[in-house]
């Protein structure tokens, strides 16, 4: 109707009208954003890498089973003295031997045409550390440690004790970071667009991303038995969460690396 049309609607942020329109316009105007696709990470083909790839889940779950009783008895001591260093070592070895280095390998081919802000960083990284997987692993470990406080805060927000059990929660967060995030830091570095894809759950499933999803879901499900009034020692904070993280990571990594490889949500 011509009567209304010319009247400017100063702020026509209507839900299904203007707002969704802008979205469609944007997505069609900048196809780069849509086509920016991470490729799933492939594991090195070297025999050692293949062996370690299969051994790593066994190592992790075996270690957890072995220390389980002492973990229940004294979670902080066991986590800080045994599982955390052990897991860090296993993960570092796994990354160096099995995973492609950030800025190199499979995911590099996905990025093309336009230079993106994230790419620059990773290129630089590739130049500096690409040849030295050990340096990169150390850097990734550092970043892993740096993000741990944020995971700690997230756990508090999910209902972890605020004023007590600080070291319990922090160590648990460190495990989640080490298992779920460290391999991703190793393969993606701090490439912002890659992380946006991972965070938005648009990345394809592979061993690294599958592991993260598994660890998150495992940690979530780990909270389920806590309220039960069974009075078991293993219900102690954060044993169930930790077991959930390990179980979820191993499961997610195996599934992501095999059956669901390359699939997307």
């Amino acid at each position: 109707m011509p009567l209304v049309d010319p009247i400017t609607m100063a702020s026509a942020v209507s839900k299904k009208g203007a707002a969704s329109q802008t979205v469609t316009v944007e997505s069609s105007a900048s196809p780069a954003a849509e086509t920016y696709n991470l490729l799933p990470v492939s594991i090195n083909q070297a025999p050692l890498a293949q062996t370690l790839r299969h051994a790593q889940p066994l190592l992790l779950s075996g270690a957890l089973t072995l220390v389980f009783s002492s973990l229940v008895k004294d979670p902080v001591a066991t986590m800080s003295s045994t599982t955390l260093p052990l897991t860090a070592a296993v993960q570092a070895a796994y990354a160096v031997i099995c995973l492609p280095v950030a800025g190199r390998g499979a995911n590099d081919t996905a990025k093309k045409t336009k230079p993106r802000p994230g790419e620059k960083v990773s290129k630089k990284k590739a130049k500096e550390g690409g040849n030295n997987a050990y340096v990169l692993a150390a850097l990734s470990l550092l970043i892993t440690a740096l993000v741990t406080p944020f995971i700690y805060i997230t756990m508090i927000l999910f209902g972890a004790p605020l004023l007590t059990h600080g070291s319990h929660t922090l160590l648990c967060a460190a495990h989640l970071s080490l298992l779920g995030l460290f391999p991703l830091f190793y393969v993606h570095g701090v490439d912002a667009s890659a992380w946006a894809a991972v965070g938005g759950f648009r990345a394809p499933l592979d061993e690294t991303f599958g592991g993260l999803v598994g660890a998150l879901v495992g940690a979530w499900l780990g909270a389920v038995p806590i309220p039960l009034d069974w009075d078991r020692d293993w219900q102690r904070w954060p044993v169930t969460i930790l077991v959930g993280i390990y179980g979820g990571y191993v499961l997610g990594k195996v599934i992501g690396g095999t059956v669901a490889w390359g699939k997307k949500f």
Partner: protein
């Protein structure tokens, strides 16, 4: 509820939005003329221009007609939708009611009475030799009488540990030492024992138990607000039959239970529900009891029921100086009273129940059932069968007496028959003789009481048409009875005594389990009604999701509208075509055969169960509605979630409902809800990374984080239930043994009044909706209301704590109550009026057009959120009053809830989730979460009865219960009122199908609570023999059931009605979109 909508035809007084409409119309007309003249420019002919102006007038008329047709169509659609929700409410009420009728325990009441000259003992041999006056009231009907008169002092909520020395400094300990001292000093004159109540521990139920000697069942608990007369045989009835005079002072519950029993000239009943008043009842009892002690020939039983201790508990919690004062007063009172007792009298002081750590009661926790019993007589006839019994037990776990034991004890002491329904046994101390060795007396008392129990059991089984367990079963009551009778002839009175005691114990246990019998058929029928109701609701919600896509095409709409104005599209297009109409018709058609069939069945069977007619009507009605829903091409397949959000909604709803099968998940429900809230925020924060527009993406992440952080902040407000101990610390009140707020908590409402209006402004600003009435209402009226609520709690604290000395009594109470009434008036009366009459929150600005500076450009600020911003005024009114009626901590929690709801609405909008069920489900989760954060748990004792006295001085119907409901379900009510925001927020006046959308969203929202209600119902029925039934499952079911009804009512009366008012106001100004 808003007053009826004035029809626009009545010109006076014109709603305020008319002025905006005038502006809008003027602008449009100007534009129109401009358009036409522009058109006319091309054609030289003057006549054409004239023709055009005629055409314009014609168009105007046609448009007006179209608008009124559209409005009528809208109103008619609204009525049908409301009809559908009314039907849904009826289904829920019938389902819950039917289940409850089978679930709440019922006990058959027998009308038989005990007679003085018909003792229940039948054996040839009597234990005691015949005493003078046997079989008469003067000598003692069934047992030689001990006293002529009794003074019974009932100190409400006198917990056992209040009366014994405890080695600590708690305000409620060691303040009432007299009874313990006398029991220790002269054991023959007094004894003190724990006195265990049978739950439910509400005064009405307790009085029934204390006078009839039988177990009260849960069905009566609801009648506590208006007691009904006791028909069964009881102590007072026996006194009356024997021609004795009974005098009553204090709590008027007695009057409603025993109308006409009391000597009118001497009795003084007092209002019992004014828990703010600690002294009126007590002073009344104390003032009137002493003159009566001088006139001892005039009465035989004197009952004084004092409420001060109970009220101090409700109002302040036990650990408060007021409690110490009250207990000291009681000590002094009992001390003085005892000095007036003579040899022919007995003084009984007792509590009817205890209180939990916050001073409330009603449940069955240890603290609630452990009362104290003390008897005193200078005659010195009380004895102990063992020397170590001389000192009263240190805790209530040792040597407790059942409260029903008082009934045979008092009856035999005063020489009247034991009431027919009694299940208790005589208290040992009274019959053991001063030296504790009069075993024949004990055995005789125990035997005659046991015989009464046996007689009662036989009548009960006969009346129910059931067979008693035969004596051949070892350990059955009949077997125990035969054994005990067999011992009588042997003359070993110690053995006889314990054998009959054994019989009584076993019978009592049997009765407890027998009366825990459920009517499974009714329960299943109730569950079936609720279940199919939920299913229908889900089908209703899932239907037509795909129809909605096509509607929102602005150009199509404009074209259609202009065609209609031209008269091309006939009126028939606008005819009411609303699915709800079909559903309502189906519902009524379906209900009729069910109602008739059910009623006929009841009539023919002669069962009198006409209620089944309603149940059958519900079932057949649901069936027809489901069929007609199915006709609208619906399949159950659409119910399976297809997106991540759908799955989240389903998981949040179902996992919780499955969790109600476990007492742990029920107990920790608040933590679980927070876990879900954080999960949602976490997922939406990640999902926000997919949003293309960067500002939107950051806003979405910001709101997700805010949503989660606010939830965690609110979780610091806790009121722990007993089962959560020791893993939980209450923060809702000043301490875990208090029900008053700490000083720092009083600052919370002030902070809310400072911050909250600014936050709301910040939410309105981005859509330029802080226009129209919004600045005045949000910035001044709303803020003033919040400030006055904050002031109320300061006045209340000043009144409680006697901060200001030398004030005339009640000054502060008066001030605070009038203040509260003003807030409620502001919110509900002024607020509703403002909401009905308010213009849209828009502002019309005329400026020069950028493209062609010669042309004027009219801009409407706030157009894009015209619906949402205006509707927001309604939840604000509720928010103010709910904040007033919640304690200071609860007010803070509600403010956070409102902030979270606004964030949720933004999250839903930014992530384009409005077509998923997650929005209403999260709103329901939020509402449920804040139920816990406003100081409640799913147990009876956390009901904040004192909230009835925030706006009132005394109990007044219906306002007092209404205030308690608003306090209890503040979270859910606020969430329900905000539900239309999910649809209306950022909806422009051109948005179509708002009503249908709101109704769908309300459907999802109600479905969450209906599923919860169904699940708790099913679990409570399934776990009816569970140890925790009355502690965990039954209260959770009751909570869910009441919440569902409240949500249904508020959704219909406030949500849908508010949306209607809002849409009409917007439609009047901007024209009808639908």
């Amino acid at each position: 509820m808003p007053p009826p909508q004035p029809t626009p035809k009545k010109a006076v007084p014109a709603p305020d939005y008319k002025t905006v409409k005038a502006q809008w119309d003027a602008a449009k007309r100007k534009k129109e003329v401009e358009d036409v003249t522009k058109k006319a420019k091309g054609q030289e002919s003057q006549a054409t221009a004239e023709l055009n102006s005629d055409e314009i007038k014609l168009r105007e008329l046609r448009r007006a007609a179209l608008e009124s047709r559209r409005k009528k169509a809208y109103q008619s659609r609204w009525l049908w939708t409301a009809g559908f929700w009314l039907w849904m409410l009826a289904v829920h009420v019938v389902g819950i009611g039917y289940f409850t009728s089978g679930f709440l325990l019922t006990r058959l009441q027998l009308d038989d009475k005990s007679l003085c000259d018909v003792p229940p003992t039948t054996g040839e041999r009597d234990i005691l030799p015949a005493w003078p006056g046997k079989g008469t009231v003067d000598g003692g009907c069934w047992h030689p009488k001990t006293f002529d008169r009794a003074v019974v002092v009932l100190i409400d909520a006198l917990r056992y540990d209040f009366t014994v020395p405890v080695d600590d400094n708690a305000a409620f300990h060691n303040a009432f030492p007299f009874m313990y001292e006398t029991a220790v000093k002269s054991p023959n004159q007094a004894f003190l024992r724990p006195f265990i109540a049978d739950p439910p521990t509400s005064t009405l139920q307790r009085l029934k138990g204390l006078t009839t000697g039988t177990l009260p069942t849960f069905i009566d608990v609801g009648s506590s607000f208006s007691g009904t007369a006791i028909e069964e045989d009881n102590l007072l009835m026996q006194m009356k039959e024997a021609g004795k005079t009974v005098v009553h002072l204090g709590d008027d519950t007695w009057d409603s239970l025993f109308p006409g029993y009391f000597e009118g000239n001497m009795s003084r009943p007092y209002d019992s529900f004014n828990v703010w008043d600690l002294h009126t009842v007590d002073n009344g009892v104390i003032d009137h009891i002493f003159p009566l002690m001088e006139k001892r020939g005039h009465w035989d039983l004197l009952i004084g029921h004092l409420l001060g201790v109970d009220h101090a508990g409700h109002r302040y919690g036990p650990d408060h100086p007021e409690m110490t004062k009250k207990l000291r007063q009681m000590d002094e009172f009992v001390r003085t009273l005892a000095s007036k007792i003579d040899d022919k009298m007995v003084l009984i002081v007792m509590g009817d129940h205890g209180m939990d750590s916050k001073g409330d009661h009603g449940g069955e926790s240890d603290d609630e059932v452990q009362a104290a019993l003390w008897m005193y007589s200078p005659k010195g006839i009380f004895g102990r069968t063992k020397p170590e019994f001389a000192i009263p037990p240190a805790t209530a776990h040792e040597r407790p007496v059942n409260q029903i034991d008082l009934v045979p004890t008092v009856a035999l002491m005063l020489g009247i028959p034991v009431p027919f329904n009694n299940l208790g046994r005589p208290i040992e101390e009274v019959f053991a003789g001063p030296r504790g060795n009069s075993w024949s007396n004990l055995a005789a008392a125990e035997r005659v009481t046991a015989a009464g129990i046996k007689r009662y059991q036989a009548s009960y089984y006969a009346a129910r048409g059931m067979a008693e367990e035969s004596a051949s079963t070892i350990g059955s009551p009949a077997d125990l009875w035969n054994k005990a009778e067999g011992l009588v002839s042997k003359g070993n009175w110690v053995a006889v005594y314990s054998a009959f005691a054994e019989y009584q114990k076993e019978t009592l246990a049997r009765c407890k389990s027998l009366w825990a019998q459920f009517n499974i058929k009714n329960m299943l029928l109730g569950i079936a009604i609720m279940g199919s109701g939920v299913l229908t609701l889900l089908v209703y919600v899932s239907k037509g999701a795909e129809d909605e896509e096509a509607i929102d095409d602005q150009e199509l709409d404009d074209a259609e509208k202009s065609l209609e104005i031209m008269g091309v599209i006939p009126d028939s297009e606008l005819a009411v075509n609303v699915p709800e109409r079909k559903l309502v018709a189906a519902a009524f058609l379906g209900a009729v055969p069910g109602l008739i069939g059910g009623a006929l069945h009841a009539y023919l069977r002669g069962s009198g169960d006409y209620y089944r007619g309603a149940a059958m009507a519900a079932i057949t009605s649901i069936a027809t509605v489901t069929v007609s829903l199915y006709e609208i091409k619906e399949t159950l397949k659409t119910l399976v979630p297809s997106t991540l959000w759908g799955w989240m909604a389903a998981v949040f709803t179902l996992s919780q409902s499955i969790g109600f099968a476990s007492n742990s998940y029920t107990i920790w429900e608040d933590s679980i809800l927070m876990f879900f809230i954080t999960t949602f925020g976490f997922v939406t924060a990640l999902s926000a990374l997919r949003i293309q527009s960067l500002p939107d993406r950051y806003m979405a992440i910001y709101h997700s984080v805010l949503f989660v952080v606010l939830g965690r902040l609110a979780s610091s407000s806790k009121l722990c239930r007993e089962e959560q101990m020791p893993y939980c610390t209450s923060t809702y009140y000043a301490s875990s043994t208090s029900s008053t707020s700490a000083l720092w908590q009083l600052a919370i409402p002030f902070a809310v009044s400072l911050i909250l209006p600014t936050i709301i402004k910040a939410f309105l600003r981005p859509t330029r909706s802080y226009e129209g009435l919004a600045p005045a209402w949000v910035g001044y009226v709303f803020r003033a209301g919040l400030f006055m609520s904050a002031l109320y709690w300061v006045l209340d604290a000043a009144d409680n704590g006697d901060w200001i000395l030398n004030l005339p009594e009640k000054t502060l109470k008066n001030l605070s109550v009038y203040n509260a009434q003003m807030v409620l008036g502001l919110a509900f009366v002024a607020g509703t009026t403002a909401f009905v009459w308010a213009p849209p929150c828009v502002s019309i600005v005329t400026s020069a057009s950028k493209a062609t500076p010669t042309r004027a450009q009219v801009a409407i600020l706030g157009y894009g959120n015209a619906h949402g911003a205006r509707y927001l005024l309604l939840p604000l009114n509720f928010l103010v009053s709910l904040i007033l009626l919640s304690k200071p901590m609860g007010g803070g929690a509600l403010a956070i809830l409102f902030w979270q709801i606004l964030s949720l609405v933004e999250i839903i909008d930014l992530n384009s989730l409005s077509n998923t069920p997650i929005g209403p489900v999260m709103l329901a989760v939020l509402g449920s979460f804040h139920f816990f954060k406003t100081g409640h748990q799913a147990v009876l004792s956390t009901i904040q009865w004192d909230s009835a006295f925030i706006p009132l001085f005394t109990v007044r119907y219906p306002w007092s219960p209404l205030a308690v409901v608003l306090n209890t379900f503040a979270g859910q009510i606020l969430a329900t009122v905000c539900l239309p925001l999910l649809v209306l927020w950022k909806s422009s006046p051109k948005q179509k199908g708002l009503l249908a959308d709101i109704s769908k969203k309300l459907g999802i929202f109600v479905a969450y609570f209906a599923v919860e209600s169904l699940a708790t119902m099913a679990w409570a029925g399934h776990l009816r023999r569970h140890l925790m039934l009355y502690r965990v499952f039954m209260p959770r079911f009751a909570t869910a059931a009441v919440v569902l009804i409240v949500v249904d009512l508020v959704g219909l009366l406030v949500g849908l009605t508010g949306a209607r008012v809002n849409t009409i106001a917007i439609g009047e100004v901007f024209g009808w979109a639908e």
